[in-house]
Amino acid sequence: MAQKITQAQILSALKGDSTQTTQNAVSLPAIQRYVARLNAGKKAPPIKMDGKVIVDGNHRYIAGLVQGTRPDIQAGTMAPSKASQIKLLREIFRRFSRLG
C-alpha cells in the first residue's frame, strides 16, 4: 500500500507558491485521496481559477503540486463578496481532523 502524503510534505510543496484562495481551510484526507488517484494514473478534473485565485479545486491543485501532475485550468469567476477574503493558499492549509 502506498504511503500517505503527510502535512509536512504538503507544506513543503506549497512553499513559495503564490496561488490564492478565498476558502478558509482544506482537508488533508481529501488531498491524500486525490494524490492516490493521481498515483493510480487517473486524471483530475480541471480546476477553475479567476486570475491567481482558485474558485474551485483547492484540493486538486494541492494534490497536483505534491504529486507533480498539475490539473488543467479553466477560467472561473470569483464571487464579488469573497474579494475581501483572498489569501495565499499556503496560509490556509490546515487539517480537517474529522472530514474523512
Partner: protein, 159 residues
C-alpha cells in the same frame, strides 16, 4: 423553473417557482451560488452544501439536518429557527448571521466562525465548539451551551 448555479460548473434545476418550503434533500449543491436567496422553510437534509456561497441567504425555519457545510459562507444570513443538527459546518463562516433559536445540537463546528452573530435562544450543544470563534457574538439566558462551556471567556457577550 429555478436554476441554481454552482461554481463547480454544475447547474441544479428545481421544478418550482420558489425555493420557499422547497424539498431539496440530498441535493449536490457544492459551491452553490445562493447569496440572498430566500429558502425559508426549505428542507435540505443531507444536502451537499460544501463551500456554498450563502451570504445574506434566508433560511428561516429551514432544515439542514446532517448536511455537509464545510467552509460554507453564511455571513449576514438569516438563520432563525434553522435546524443544523448533525451537520458539518467545519470552518464555516457565520459572521453577523442571525442564529436566534437555531438548533446546532451535534453539529461539528470545528474552526467555524460565529463572530458578531446573534445566538439568542440558540441550542449550541455542538461538537468541537471549543475550536470555534465567538468573538462579539451575543447570547441570552435562553441560549443553551454545553456543560462547563464559558461563552464569555470565548468573547461572546450576554445581552
Amino acid at each position: 423553473m429555478i436554476i441554481i448555479h454552482c461554481q463547480t460548473g454544475h447547474d441544479v434545476k428545481i421544478n418550482s417557482n420558489t425555493l420557499e418550503n422547497a424539498m431539496l434533500d440530498g441535493l449536490d449543491l457544492h459551491r452553490a451560488l445562493l447569496e440572498c436567496f430566500n429558502l425559508t422553510g426549505a428542507s435540505l437534509r443531507k444536502a451537499n452544501l460544501r463551500s456554498a456561497l450563502m451570504r445574506q441567504v434566508i433560511l428561516v425555519k429551514a432544515d439542514l439536518t446532517a448536511s455537509a457545510l464545510m467552509t460554507a459562507d453564511f455571513r449576514l444570513a438569516d438563520l432563525r429557527n434553522c435546524k443544523f443538527n448533525q451537520s458539518t459546518p467545519i470552518f464555516a463562516d457565520f459572521c453577523q448571521a442571525n442564529l436566534q433559536n437555531a438548533d446546532m445540537a451535534q453539529a461539528d463546528v470545528g474552526g467555524a466562525v460565529f463572530n458578531y452573530s446573534n445566538l439568542k435562544g440558540a441550542i449550541m450543544l455542538c461538537n468541537r465548539l471549543e475550536e470555534a470563534s465567538l468573538e462579539g457574538a451575543i447570547f441570552d439566558n435562553k441560549t443553551i451551551w454545553p456543560e462547563n462551556y464559558d461563552p464569555e471567556r470565548q468573547g461572546a457577550i450576554r445581552f
